[in-house]
Symmetry: C2
Subunit: 125 residues, 2 copies
DNA sequence: GCTTACCTTTACGTTAACGTAAAGCAACCC
DNA sequence: GGGTTGCTTTACGTTAACGTAAAGGTAAGC
């Protein structure tokens, strides 16, 4: 049998609230099975959640995260759809490249900020 | 004389609204000079705005951006302050490192997504 | 049979980061 | 002097992404 999770299992493991998980479902980013009333999550659901969290860490909106999820299995797309998918992939790549530049630049600024802090600290001695 | 800018100069050049610029001032992230009623911005103000925009591109909140700005000139800090600055710098570095990992991972996923798109496209031929 | 621990739905509340509209001053153009 | 352009302040509106009750269902343990 393939592994399943309760909602609080996932909440604990991924360090988010159950409310957040239900919210993502409301936004059609998840559709877990049900056993009676209760939600039952699959490994795939967990992967999607991780995608969402990773997206959020680099500042993606949930709408953007949903796009990423749609890219995750493009099987059901017609020609037109697939081509817009490829477009979106290209755009995302450009965005990620820009973010890499931004991060590098910020690391440099943190370096000089640390420098200045340290010399200022020496002044106080 | 050192260069100055009007609010719409900066808005045009940095591609944001004047409302946003005024809002950042409300949040104590800018404090431009005044000529009569009008705001007059210095090159330093422009640097700060760029810091903000860069921060936003990688998902920082304005509160986080303000911290970065404070790190930008730590001259006026006492010992205690300077040490918390160094702490914050360390934290930011860790966050940036995590973001780098996230971006790399996403690039990989975009690669495989593109693969799947292309093979799916070939199916439609 | 009562408590405790999870689960559910419904619904209103909250915060961040501006958007948008209203109303008005100052300078230049014709 | 009337209109346009660009600046100002004040203030209410909006969206995203949940938080936070409230009210209740179910199964386990004592």
């Amino acid at each position: 049998m393939t592994q399943t999770y309760s909602i609080s299992d996932l909440a604990r493991e991924l360090d988010i609230t159950t409310r957040a998980i239900r919210f993502y479902e409301e936004q059609n980013m998840l559709s877990p099975e049900r056993r009676g009333q209760e939600r039952v999550y699959s490994p795939r659901d967990k992967v999607i959640l991780k995608l969402i969290l990773r997206g959020k860490r680099i500042g993606f909106s949930l709408a953007e995260c949903r796009e990423l999820i749609e890219l995750y299995d493009p099987g059901h797309g017609n020609r037109k759809q697939l081509e817009t998918f490829l477009d979106k992939i290209t755009q995302r790549r450009a965005q990620l490249a820009q973010q890499l530049l931004d991060i590098e630049q910020m690391q440099i600024e943190l370096d000089t900020a640390e420098e200045r802090c340290r010399t200022a600290l020496e002044q106080t001695n």
